[in-house]
């Protein structure tokens, strides 16, 4: 596994949780331009996470770590259950990435909505709900990272 990439991705998600929590905090107070900035930052951090995840998938594919008839791990790296591990890996990280995608779209949409409405219409509740969703996606990754990257020996 690319532990370094996984660690950077964890840092990206933790940072995005800070920006989301800060956005939820600002949304409850008086109007500020920073709210839109923080919402956009959260969306961009999610997109950056997806970019790195995609890079990892490409690397795995090049290394022959795509389960199925083309599964051909590097010489000496093949261990019992390796293909099964990668099936679980793609299902878990793929489902997680789908939810990061949904969250990034939601935060991008909220950023645009908040920026385009100067009248201070109610915005605390949607931001708060999006932040709760985003924190949960972060929570899932907090457990996926040690399970898939740190406790795994081999490629």
């Amino acid at each position: 596994m690319l532990v370094g990439v996984g660690a950077i991705n964890t840092a990206l998600l933790l940072t995005s949780s800070l920006t989301a929590a800060w956005a939820a905090r600002l949304a409850k107070g008086p109007r500020t331009a920073w709210l839109s900035v923080l919402l956009a930052a959260t969306a961009l951090l999610g997109v950056a996470f997806l970019g790195l995840k995609g890079y990892e998938y490409v690397r795995h594919y090049q290394d022959g770590l795509w389960p199925g008839t083309r599964f051909a791990p590097p010489e000496g790296a093949a261990t019992p259950g390796l293909e099964m591990f990668f099936v679980a890996y793609y299902v878990l990280t793929g489902a997680h990435a789908l939810h990061v995608t949904i969250g990034s779209v939601a935060f991008g949409w909220l950023a645009r909505l908040v920026a385009s409405r100067p009248d201070g219409t109610p915005r605390a509740r949607p931001v708060e709900l999006a932040a709760l969703y985003w924190h949960f996606v972060d929570l899932v990754w907090i457990f996926l990272f040690p399970a898939l990257y740190l406790l795994r020996q081999g490629p």
């Binding site: 933790l14 800070l18 406790l151």
Partner: protein, 98 residues
């Protein structure tokens, strides 16, 4: 038309608390990556998931504002995590007891 964004419920966490939580989360991330490079033997999963649990507690407690909520919300949150753990334990029961 509503012009206020005031919501019922607890006040949001202070800025310093949010930043402090973030610094602690990043420190825990550094710690778990470093500890994974050491040979801890059978303790490895306990260390890795123990740190993950600490990170989760910070995210739930501060970022998700669980700490500031009332008893009913806390109870529902606890029940959700409890059943999640039960589900995970049952899923892994066969693997863990072999």
């Amino acid at each position: 038309m509503r012009t206020t964004t005031e919501l019922p419920g607890p006040p949001p966490p202070a800025a310093r608390l949010l930043v402090g939580t973030y610094v602690a989360l990043m420190a825990l991330l550094g710690a778990t990556v470093w500890l994974a490079t050491l040979d801890l033997g059978r303790a490895s999963p306990y260390v890795a998931f123990g740190i993950a649990g600490a990170k989760a507690a910070l995210v739930i407690g501060i970022f998700m504002e669980w700490r500031a909520e009332g008893p009913v919300v806390r109870l529902v949150g606890f029940a959700a995590v409890f059943w999640l753990v039960v589900g995970a334990a049952l899923t892994l029961a066969d693997y863990l007891t072999r």
